[in-house]
């Protein structure tokens, strides 16, 4: 059987970008990026949500007009009433919701929805449970190895399985805001200092090894996950879609490279060289999918 053609998804912007930059990013994705799905919405910190409220409708409209399917991403760790209310309000939208917390499953039932990469889907039993409860799409956690992706994709043929293929890997979420802590502030009076780091705040070891990135309450990898070398293998095991997570680099060009490799118009090695040129100074990793240390870049 020929594997289905793999599609591309632009993930939600995880960082605190100025509303105008955020809007223009999505406008350009709408106009130029060869991606089928685009996720929109604040995942990391509800305090940032008001900034996007004035532009989100325009963004969704522009994306849909360009033929993209829009997914509205939910918060990763809603704990406050106000956060649960805004999650609940997502139900009123006509777009498909991407659930990033289990709380959304109850709110969304029985409506078809997507499961985001911050919900723990580690095996086929969980995937089948979610598919039976209306999950039309599941983006798997970035730490899963290829064998797990294969077993899960085989078990839920009717559900699109997506894999984290580009961008800093989300590694942890907390109630504590590390941006605020580093600036000597409390979370509730943070003054939105995370906007100073549009790709996250670099964290090195005390021996100056580049290591992690802080994004408010979220911790990500220093390296950008990059699965260009694994596109063919992912298609073979039944992955339906690859997720590209937005950074300030040229995401249209990144998407084009993944599209070209998926369509076999370009060799992965050549695409990788081009990608490194688009992201100067960025270190890449693909260890998780090889069952290795996540920070490593494994060359097959």
């Amino acid at each position: 059987m020929m594997p289905r053609a793999i599609t591309l998804t632009m993930g939600p912007v995880l960082f605190n970008w100025p509303a105008e930059q955020w809007r223009d990013f999505y406008f350009r994705i709408a106009d130029e990026a060869p991606v089928e799905h685009v996720c929109v919405g604040e995942v990391v910190c509800s305090r940032r949500q008001p900034f996007y409220n004035s532009v989100i409708a325009d963004v969704v409209e522009r994306l849909e007009r360009a033929g993209k399917t829009v997914l509205l991403s939910s918060l990763a760790l809603p704990t406050l009433d106000r956060e649960l209310r805004s999650e609940s309000a997502l139900r009123e939208s006509s777009q498909m919701i991407e659930a990033n917390d289990i709380s959304m499953l109850r709110l969304l039932r029985p409506r078809p929805h997507a499961i985001g990469p911050l919900v723990n889907v580690y095996n086929e039993r969980t995937a089948q449970f979610l598919a039976a409860h209306g999950a039309a799409r599941i983006c798997l956690p970035p730490e899963l190895p290829l064998a797990s992706i294969e077993a899960i994709a085989k078990a839920i043929p009717e559900t699109a399985v997506e894999v984290w293929a580009f961008g800093r890997a989300p590694l942890a979420i907390s109630a504590r805001c590390y941006h605020a802590r580093l600036h000597g502030r409390m979370k509730d009076s943070c003054q939105f200092v995370c906007d100073q780091d549009p790709d996250g705040l670099p964290v090195a070891t005390v021996d100056d090894q580049k290591f992690l990135t802080v994004n408010g309450v979220q911790t990500l990898s220093h390296t950008y996950c990059c699965l260009l070398n694994e596109v063919a293998a992912l298609a073979d095991v039944g992955a339906a879609s690859l997720r590209l997570s937005p950074h300030t680099v040229d995401m249209v060009a990144i998407a084009q490279l993944f599209r070209d490799v998926a369509d076999r118009r370009r060799e992965p090695q050549s695409a990788l060289t081009a990608l490194r040129a688009i992201c100067p100074g960025v270190d890449l990793s693909n260890g998780f999918i090889h069952g290795d240390v996540g920070a490593r870049f494994v060359t097959a």
Binding site: A76, L77, P78, T79, L84, D101, I102, S103, L105, R106, L107, N120, V121, Y122, N123, E124, R125, T126, A127, F129, L130, P141, P142, E143, L144, A147, S148, E150, A151, L171, A172, I173, S174, A175, R176, C177, Y178, A180, L182, H183, M186, D188, L201, P202, V203, A204, T205, V206, D207, D208, Q209, F211, L212, T219, S221, F288, D292, V293, G294, A295
Partner: protein
Amino acid sequence: MGASEGALELVCPAGTPAALRAAIESGADAVYCGFRDETNARNFPGLNFSRDELRQAIMFAHYKGAKVLVAINTFPRAGDTGPWLRAVDDAAAFNADAVILADLGLLAYAAEKHPNLRLHLSVQAGAANAEAIAFYVEAFSVKRVVLPRVLSVPEIAKMTRAVPCETEVFVFGGLCVMEEGRCSLSSYASGKSPNMHGVCSPASHVSYKEEGGSLVSRLGDFTINRVPSDQSVGYPTLCKGRFRTKFGAAHIFEDPVSLDARVLLPALRDAGVKALKIEGRQRGRAYVSAVVKTFREAVDALERGEAAPSGALTALTEGQSATCGGYLKTWR
């Protein structure tokens, strides 16, 4: 023994049969433990229970009037879920008082295959709000949820009133800074993950080196801390490490402290919490005895309406310093 109706239940760690006996003899109402494999989140060398050991431990506990809760709280491996299913089946066969689960698929299996087996939702499920908890209760008839250490006491009180099941909270021991069950920091540095392998910052990947007048602790290839040679460097748990940012070097996530919420026991009781959990299945018998005795006295004093005795546990906390962690909102 055993908690009377309405009393706070003291849930204590048992990494070995010896620790289990020590916990029960020191006043535990319930102990939690796991099988000797990757089905539980404390999959450390030399810890946990064989099938025979668990069967006997449950008989011993029941004879003493204590409960045994079996933690099967990692996420089953895709294509190889068998060990996790067998762990649930065996816990049920041995008359465990409950199993503590985190994975949706495993919860679905347990609820269907063992309808009379009491299900507790592990902290590893990261259920941090009433909607999420209600989902687990409705889908699997979960009877108790262990709350993630990201909630303040007022939030716990509110949630406990709102949810149709019991709540259990951590009161002592190691403190996750990140939401439990949603952290792959260890996996990123070592390839070994809490969710998949039941380990965090595993000893197999830890090294200590003396380098030019400093003592360095590493996890995998990454330096977690570096101190002058005459100081103690501590175990390199990743989130308690010292790292460098543009603001300088600091414990940017959390200082090497551990949780001691004894002063909050009255507030937690008033919040309607059902059970208090002590972390530390990796700890030895002496530690477990000391901590359980102290908390037994504190809970009993609370029941009698007396002030808790202020026994010193400082020597038993990580880095010899304690925090109330996320239970106080200022922590955030």
